[in-house]
């Protein structure tokens, strides 16, 4: 997952040039957009309103949530499949009809 998703989740828009693997990259490559000027051009914050640390924490939180969502979805699919099998449908019928 790209770090811009964490910045967005923290409520900010950004322009990131290159990669962000550490604090130095964060300082150099990440621009948090404050607003647009009268010509529509981006104005960046001189001092970023969020830190590298809190952005990484948010990123880890989003990754964990994504993993949990995946686990929850697999559990729901397994549950649905078990219920269909309990109704008497064969594995092939469930696969062909529902794609499970």
């Amino acid at each position: 997952m790209h770090i811009y998703k964490a910045i967005k989740a923290l409520g900010y828009q950004c322009a990131i040039y290159g990669s962000v693997n550490n604090q130095q990259d964060w300082d150099k490559n990440v621009n948090i957009i404050k607003q647009a000027d009268e010509n529509g051009n981006a104005i960046f914050y001189d001092i970023k309103p969020i830190t590298y640390e809190e952005t990484i924490n948010k990123l880890n939180e989003l990754i964990a949530q994504e993993e949990q969502d995946k686990i929850d979805k697999e559990a729901r699919i397994a549950s649905a499949k078990a219920k269909l099998e309990a109704l008497g449908l064969t594995t092939e019928e469930i696969k062909d009809t529902f794609g499970l």
Partner: protein, 158 residues
């Protein structure tokens, strides 16, 4: 081997001999990834200076932009602005030209624009590309540093 050196070449009637219409060609590229999540225009990382040889020259501009949509929950789209110094040669409108057809899009593509500009100067002038995403959607340009965007300037003599 002989070398022929002359100051000017003229036709029999004394008028200038046509030497071609292309004055100069300048080309620049970038592979630096830009991840943008804003409708505010931001530098793409493509700019090129040119010094026209005559005020009557035109500048033919070609630009190719590599992009990838990585959005979720809405259509992703972007547009671009071409600047000559602070002057807008072209600015995309409210209807963004390059758009994904569906939400949750992850497609990538290369889009091209062509402009003909009349800078009316013989001073060095710099052309620059900026981009903006629709409704703060997520678009990555020159993804991963593997893909390239280009800007080519061609001086067309009068």
């Amino acid at each position: 081997m002989s070398i022929l050196k002359v100051n000017t070449i003229q036709k029999k009637d004394g008028s200038a001999f046509p030497l071609g219409k292309i004055g100069q060609v300048l080309h620049t590229t970038t592979t630096t990834q830009l991840a943008l999540t804003s409708s505010a225009y931001t530098d793409l990382g493509l700019e090129q200076a040119i010094t026209p040889s005559s005020t009557s020259s035109k500048i033919l501009i070609f630009t190719n932009i590599h992009s990838q949509y990585q959005d979720s929950g809405q259509n992703a789209a972007y547009t671009m602005k071409m600047l000559r110094g602070a002057t807008q040669v072209y600015t995309g409108g409210q209807l963004y030209e390059i758009t994904s057809e569906t939400a949750n899009a992850t497609g990538q593509q290369k889009d091209s624009w062509t402009f003909l500009d009349s800078p009316s100067t013989t001073s060095s002038t710099t052309y620059k590309v900026q981009v903006s995403t629709f409704n703060n959607s997520d678009v990555t340009f020159q993804r991963g540093g593997f893909f390239q965007s280009e800007l080519l300037l061609m001086e067309i003599l009068a």
